[in-house]
């Protein structure tokens, strides 16, 4: 395991070199070389050109995650607990997911506004589903012996949920969170595609309009980093929370 960093580094280097090599044969328009992209990125950061956009998108992602994640978790609990609610509302949940958000854009701008709200709503809408699904599933498969224990201790339904079902379902719920945080980044960007003049999504559109592929790649790199940081944060939280869950006996 201790060599994993070295291999990781080697792999990364190899991929970079390959990319640089391939890019040598291609128009910058189609595939800019990593050196060019990194330079563009550095330039965008140095001049502060990218900063407000990064800030804007980060805000949207975090807000969207807070609302969408919270909603997904709570709906997941409700629907995992109550079959009636599940059967009643699930069709609408699926509908909300199967519909491409990009197509609903005008309606969102109509219902909310053209500012940050509509982007936050789209982000929330995109990232709430994995959490809902995983939460609802996790709290349904509970060891019946533990359920009996809580019944005999006269735990209320809420207590059983909070003290038994959620802790037991935590690994699966956190898997949902990890999917959600990564989708949130996509959600915010898609939201900004619709009609925004600030944010990394708007920048992507602008860079395409300018046919500035290196800039677009630089932005994609920023987005990737954003996704990774969020993912790693969840991973760290998980490590703290699940210390006594790790059950792999190998």
């Amino acid at each position: 395991m201790k060599y994993v960093r070295i291999y990781s580094f080697l792999l990364f280097g190899f991929l970079l070199v390959t990319w640089e090599f391939i890019a040598g044969f291609m128009s910058e328009l189609v595939l800019p070389a990593p050196s060019v992209v990194v330079f563009t990125l550095w330039d965008g950061l140095r001049t502060g050109y990218l900063l407000p956009h990064i800030w804007r998108t980060t805000t949207e992602v975090l807000l969207g995650l807070a609302y969408g994640g919270g909603l997904g978790f709570i709906l997941g609990l409700l629907m995992g607990e109550n079959e009636f609610l599940r059967r009643l509302f699930y069709p609408y949940v699926i509908a909300s997911q199967a519909v491409p958000k990009l197509a609903l854009a005008p309606l969102f701008v109509l219902w909310f506004d053209f500012g940050i709200t509509s982007k936050v709503v789209i982000t929330a809408l995109i990232c709430f589903f994995p959490l809902l699904e995983n939460t609802a599933t996790a709290i349904q498969y509970i060891d019946p012996k533990k359920m009996e224990l809580f019944k005999v201790l006269q735990a209320t339904r809420l207590q059983t949920l909070i003290r038994l079902k959620i802790p037991t379902g935590l690994p699966s719920i956190l898997a949902g969170v990890r999917v959600a945080v990564v989708l949130a980044v996509v959600g915010a960007v898609v939201g900004e595609f619709i009609g925004a003049s600030e944010g990394l999504g708007a920048m992507i559109i602008a860079s395409q309009g300018m046919m500035d592929t290196p800039l677009m790649f630089a932005i994609l790199i920023v987005l990737t980093l954003m996704g990774m940081i969020l993912y790693q944060t969840v991973h760290l939280i998980e490590k703290l929370l699940l210390k006594h869950y790790k059950e792999d006996g190998l």
């Binding site: 328009l29 050109y49 005008p106 701008v109 003049s197 602008a206 046919m211």
Partner: protein, 319 residues
């Protein structure tokens, strides 16, 4: 809420009444619209007593939807979108001719030998997307030489539309003047350009309002148009300054040299022989009518539209 407070505050500062007005654009904040975006700096609209907000959008349809739902007062949109909305029975008014020139074109590589629209028959032609002006204008161009959609192979290429052309994945691509400029910047090489305006020159963009807004906010609209005309005049007079301001106020204005060229192109499309005579923004009803008729002919719309009923010139200040 707090917007309101800020509003009254700045009113008091200025000691005059500022009226809010929202313009829904077909695009995000882009360099070619710099004159609309720099009011903070240049006060074209504030001088008229207008507190302007520009709402971004994706396509002319968005702009129209935004005025239909009251999210905005004025739409900065293309005639195509206007025709579609009128076709669906919406009650709209055209109040200003932003770009009297048709900015669309079809570009082919020099070696392809495609020099005139008729050569496009049987070829593969790229457009931005199926909803874009590039497609509609390509159809119009084809129609002018008796070709239809079925005679060519139209493919969507996304905004990077010159890349497939350079790679030879398409024979020609439909674009705009600014798009072509950027393409050339990206070493597009030698190309043949067929301008749509050489065949059917109708305006590229218009200010459109709903009948309700038109009736209720005539005064404001008048002030707005004056402001806009002034801003357009300024952009023509001092493109350098505009190019510089674009860096700060637009999403795509990164490069000042490019900004300059794009602004020059837009300045060129903002004038026509008619505007020379009657002032910026004068609407050429006849050309609009011909465009509407062509859309009808192309089956893009069902109804025959009468532009006389739609176009209104009374708000436009005399030169």
């Amino acid at each position: 809420g707090s917007d309101q407070d800020q509003q009254t505050e700045s009113d008091e500062e200025k000691g005059e009444l500022q009226e809010e007005l929202k313009v829904a654009s077909w695009s995000q904040h882009i360099t070619e619209q710099t004159n609309l975006l720099v009011d903070e700096e240049k006060s074209f609209f504030r001088e008229q007593g207008i507190d302007l907000t520009v709402i971004p959008g994706q396509g002319g349809g968005d702009a129209i939807k935004n005025i239909l739902t009251g999210k905005a007062d004025v739409a900065f949109t293309d005639p195509g979108s206007l025709f579609f909305a009128l076709d669906k029975g919406e009650d709209l008014r055209v109040i200003y001719n932003i770009y009297p020139q048709n900015v669309f074109n079809v570009v082919a590589l020099k070696e392809s030998g495609i020099t005139k629209p008729a050569d496009l028959k049987g070829k593969k032609i790229g457009v931005y997307s199926l909803s874009s002006g590039t497609r509609q204008n390509l159809l119009i161009l084809l129609n002018q030489v008796g070709l239809t959609e079925d005679d060519v192979d139209i493919v969507e290429t996304g905004l990077l539309n010159f890349a497939p052309l350079m790679q030879g994945k398409v024979d020609a691509t439909a674009a705009t003047d600014t798009g072509l400029f950027i393409g050339k910047q990206k070493s597009l090489g030698e190309v043949n350009v067929m301008e749509v305006k050489d065949h059917l020159n109708f305006p590229s963009d218009l200010f459109v309002v709903t009948e309700d807004v038109f009736q209720q906010k005539k005064g404001q609209l008048q002030k707005f148009l004056t402001g806009y005309r002034n801003s357009a005049a300024w952009m023509m007079k001092s493109p350098e300054e505009a190019a510089k301001l674009a860096q700060e106020y637009t999403t795509d204005g990164k490069d000042i040299e490019n900004n300059m060229e794009i602004i020059k192109l837009r300045n060129k499309s903002s004038v026509s022989s008619l505007t020379e005579k009657k002032g910026l923004g004068t609407i050429d009803t006849e050309k609009l009518q011909r465009a509407a008729d062509t859309y009808k002919q192309l089956d893009l719309i069902d109804k025959s539209l009468n532009m006389e009923e739609v176009v209104n010139t009374e708000l436009l200040p005399a030169k």
